[in-house]
């Protein structure tokens, strides 16, 4: 590698880290992004100087097509589809890393050292797993595949066996690198494993799964760096891996569950008893007019958004309602639960898109004590994250999970499409509490009607 290329790679690594630091606050985030973009340009320039590259023909064609697709996707994808977009890009990242590994192996399988083989093995294992696993997550989010968990007998045992098998193949391969059959078998099994790991995971657990796959995509890129002896790949992959890892921890903690429980617990299972119990719940239904009156006579309103808001695309109507209320002197805040939605930060992005100032978006710990002083808690398409059972009912599957204290507000208005339970299939005590009223219907239409009633 030439000195120039080495320097450019070094520069890129430093710029990536400085850029990421910028994400520490919303004010500096765009500058950080720009710094990282310069880093990426440096890394690509350094690579194009690589002596092995004999022709730029295919590079120009595929990078051209890829950039065009990337630009189109970035410009056209609605913010509500962000989880799908992220899942898809993890799968691209996994595939790219895996294919580079396969290409390397196909060229050098006769001369590859044990250490390099180990790195290539990891690369293809994580890359393949991330590729299919993320495609499955994408399919579930998009609705191609049933979003609910799919379970069958001995599922966990089978997955563990397959995982063990692929680990064994990796060891064998590292010992005898020239046995090509083992390599391709391992690649295949990694892809099967990706499908099988994600199949049993229900929609509400998607934030954890997407974060974990984020981490795997990073590890695959890092392994590529080991195989190619390239430090910028190792560093960028490690940063990506660390980020996915941190997000997975944050998400798991917000659900009071361990990684293992998410991966092997099949939490999304529909609880038949709870379903039956929901029918018998006594609820108080309210009209749009009632809701409008409650809201306009309040002094402080805390909005609790959930995945239902994303599905109904109700974020703009929500902001409109909030502006109306603020004009009448009502204080409006938003309580954001870390796992509301289908990916980390999902609600923040949706509300920011609808022009809600981010200083109105409050994190769970920050706002939970304020519910007691709120006149109205307005629940828009959220369910499990506002279920008070998590606080006191030890037999509830979500017991111990930190939840928003919507039940402590003077009145709680819940906008719901139907009486169906949330993704976890758990009865929600909040809905039958004496100070709770439910307004049924599409969240967006209901919010628009409330705005009309206020005008």
């Amino acid at each position: 590698m030439s000195m120039t290329a080495e320097f450019l790679y070094f520069l890129a690594s430093v710029l990536f880290i400085i850029g990421l630091r910028g994400l520490g606050s919303a004010e500096t985030a765009r500058r950080g992004l720009f710094i990282s973009e310069i880093g990426m340009v440096a890394a690509v320039l350094g690579t194009l100087l690589h002596p092995d590259i004999v022709s730029y023909k295919w590079i120009i064609v595929s990078a051209g097509i890829g950039s065009a697709i990337g630009i189109a996707m970035a410009a056209l994808i609605p913010m509500t589809k962000m989880p799908e977009r992220i899942a898809l890009s993890h799968s691209f990242g996994g595939l790219a890393a895996a294919l580079v590994g396969v290409s390397e192996y196909s060229l050098h399988h006769e001369v590859v050292t044990h250490a390099t083989m180990g790195a290539l093995g990891f690369e293809v294992l994580f890359g393949g797993l991330t590729f299919t696993g993320s495609l499955m997550a994408f399919g579930k989010l998009q609705g191609f595949i049933p979003g609910r968990n799919i379970t069958y007998p001995f599922q966990n045992q089978a997955n563990i066996a397959i995982f063990g098998g692929s680990a064994l193949l990796l060891i064998l391969l590292t010992t005898w690198p020239s046995v090509q059959f083992l390599f391709y078998l391992m690649f295949f099994i990694a892809m099967v494993l990706g499908v099988l790991i994600v199949i049993p995971i229900g929609g509400a657990d998607m934030p954890v799964v997407i974060s974990l796959l984020n981490s795997y995509a990073g590890l695959a890129a890092s392994a590529t760096g080991f195989a190619l002896g390239n430090n910028v790949l190792i560093i960028a992959g490690a940063l990506d891996g660390a980020s996915g890892f941190i997000l997975s921890i944050v998400m798991s903690r917000a659900m009071n569950r361990s990684f293992g429980n998410v991966l092997f617990g099949a939490f999304g299972k529909v609880n038949e008893e709870a379903l039956a119990a929901v029918g018998s719940q006594e609820i108080h239904e309210a009209t749009v007019g009632d809701a409008a009156m409650l809201l306009s006579s309040a002094q402080k309103v805390i909005v609790c958004p959930g995945y239902g808001m994303a599905v109904a695309q109700a974020q703009h109507a929500m902001r409109e309602l909030a502006e109306h209320l603020e004009a009448e002197g009502v204080e409006v805040l938003y309580a954001i639960h870390p796992v509301a939605g289908r990916m980390p930060g999902h609600m923040n992005v949706l509300l920011a898109e609808a022009n809600v100032p981010y200083d109105q978006l409050k994190e769970l710990e920050e706002i939970n004590d304020e519910f007691a002083q709120a006149d109205v808690a307005l629940v828009v398409g959220a369910n499990d994250v506002v279920n008070p059972a998590a606080k006191h009912n030890a037999s509830s599957p979500i017991y111990g999970m930190p939840v928003l204290n919507a039940d402590l507000a003077k009145t709680c208005i819940v906008l719901k499409r139907t009486m169906n339970p949330g993704f976890a299939g758990i009865e929600n005590e909040l809905f039958s509490m004496p100070n709770t009223v439910l307004v049924f219907g599409d969240a967006k239409q209901t919010l628009e009607k409330i705005v009309q009633a206020l005008a």
């Binding site: 690579t47 194009l48 890829g66 990337g70 996707m73 790219a96 890393a97 294919l99 996915g244 992005v349």
Partner: protein, 98 residues
């Protein structure tokens, strides 16, 4: 294990700790942009893909490189653009956009 591999391990572990420290400071507000951002950065696989596509050793390796460049350039270009699109939306009350 070769000397180079060990150096790689040092780099990996240090970078992981740096990443852990830096990313721990990112507020939950920005978690979605963070994901899109790191996604773009992990498009750095482009570095390996470009060599695979441009070296033209065998048709097989070139074809794989071609697909890999396609995938990682979607991630790099798309990832940076969409992160910027998201970050542009975050603004303070009454103030200008971030």
């Amino acid at each position: 294990m070769s000397h180079e591999m060990f150096l790689g391990l040092y780099v990996f572990v240090l970078a992981a700790f740096v990443g852990y420290g830096v990313i721990g400071g990112v507020p939950p507000l920005l978690h979605t942009p963070l994901m899109a951002f790191t996604n773009a950065i992990s498009g750095i696989s482009l570095v390996g893909s470009l060599v695979a596509a441009g070296a033209e050793h065998t048709t097989f390796s070139t074809a794989l490189g071609f697909i890999a460049v396609l995938c990682s350039s979607i991630n790099v270009v798309g990832g940076f653009l969409i992160t910027d699109r998201m970050l542009k939306m975050f603004r303070k009350r009454g103030g200008t956009k971030a």
